[in-house]
Subunit: 332 residues, 2 copies
Amino acid sequence: MTIHNRRIVLAARPRGVVTSDCFRIEDQTLGSLESGQVLVRNHYMSLDPYMRGRMDDAKSYAAPQAIGQTMQGATVGVVEQSNNPQFVVGDSVVGMFGWQHYGLSDGRGITKIDTSKIPMSAFIGVMGMPGATAWYGLNRIIDPKPGETIVVSAAAGAVGAVVGQLAKFKACRVVGVAGGAEKCQLVTETFGFDACIDYKAGRLYEDLAAATPDGIDGNFENVGGPVLDAVLRRMNGFGRIAVCGLIAGYNGEDIALKSTRSILVNRLKVQGFIISEHLGDWPKAHAEIGQAIIEGRLLYKETVAEGLEQAPEAFIGLLQGKNLGKQLVKLI
Amino acid sequence: MTIHNRRIVLAARPRGVVTSDCFRIEDQTLGSLESGQVLVRNHYMSLDPYMRGRMDDAKSYAAPQAIGQTMQGATVGVVEQSNNPQFVVGDSVVGMFGWQHYGLSDGRGITKIDTSKIPMSAFIGVMGMPGATAWYGLNRIIDPKPGETIVVSAAAGAVGAVVGQLAKFKACRVVGVAGGAEKCQLVTETFGFDACIDYKAGRLYEDLAAATPDGIDGNFENVGGPVLDAVLRRMNGFGRIAVCGLIAGYNGEDIALKSTRSILVNRLKVQGFIISEHLGDWPKAHAEIGQAIIEGRLLYKETVAEGLEQAPEAFIGLLQGKNLGKQLVKLI
């Protein structure tokens, strides 16, 4: 049985801003499965800010990907054919098959998931890399104490929304920063943050100061630039900043900071991390998040683009902050 | 017996750059000792960059000092009178008597020192706060491994010179950054750094890159600004930056950084610290440094101003980087 696969490859590296001509759709035919192989039909694929870094041929936290290669990324789907005794047709699995309809594996790099209580798409969101990222940065770097004030940038995004909810579980005051009234409403009304600052409103520092009357003890930073500068000015002594992303500079520009004196004056710890280097914490993170989802205590939001062909536009929108919550592409 | 004391008080807060009219000399008469009191004749007083922060009425790592108050700081001297059984006339002691000839204590805040093998002046330098600062930042934050490359800014200063020598003991490649050829010569020839970059030569990044062919694993940062920016661009994965001082901004200006992306890309830990909050490590630090001094393995340099009246000019010079090694004022 011949399998017709469609995929999106990196056609050209972006010059600054990502444009649609960085991508190219390719159709291909997959042959029969070899012994041990598994064929997965991807149902959802993930779009994440880290993919932007891989599109450049520069040193970043993600290795650059080759021109002509399938765009990389997490996927979730269902086994359609199996020559591997560990997988049967119908198994739901997460993998890293990237921007394409099908994935072929020898069994490595795919993991069976239980979708009986948690929807499949969540396994590339709150139950996947973004959830683990939120958990790790909050618990292993910020390590919040009850009553502390935690600020989360990109609070309406896949990671930020989880950070804030986990911090609320720890009895913190949680303040989000997001772009626009709609996102701020989601952050406070759905995700239960105590406050959310709309950085597009033009009063970033003043609004942040008003929302953090006792200063800031922990910051989960996804943005950098002026947002981080405002946060630095509000940090308390011995504050911790987990640097998860610097989306302010994803197009290659410098990310200038002015208030670096705060690092010294307030004896801050500012630490960057990449979640793929901390795989040992993923099970603990997902056990905690999964339980909270099942109990209805942790909510998540998805923005779903329909069809592989929409992936480039959805990805460009993600980099512009157009998504609410986790940006997915539904493939089937 | 009447004691005539001379002291220097903070006359006015600086507006930006410190000028001599920020200080005022005052003469006063001290009465007889009360029960339990000790009178110390200060022989040397310390001038340190942190004093600049205290001159401002702003949040800094050192609490502001009041107008009209004696300029604060570490001193070393000899007991001249004692009504306290724990001290006898002739004891050498370190204290925090500040910019004045005499100090009066009830016995608290002064510590006897053994000057038989190490000169008295060292106890407010390598064997005092600056030495503890060097030891703590290097060992507790940078935690260098053999073969790693460590960069130290203000390398010819009281702290930097010790950091570099301690890092050499740990078999690191050690590169200093200092201002001017004379300082760089001291750093390499006397203190034994592998290289020293003259940041005034106008090729900061290029020279730093040439001196750190394997990148930078640890940075002991005393300066901030363009020096720290150049260092950030050379950092390796999982590098550690101990932020000890940001002398680039001591006059109140912002300390802008451009290369903050490196914190994320290289998963850096950037941590500020203030040595007075880590008193528990001082004995260990001084035991190690003292032993190395006695064995002739650790060298230090002092710039000595003669007489209390020279303190303001010497302090202003310190902030301008005119000193080589530890800046002292000899009082007697």
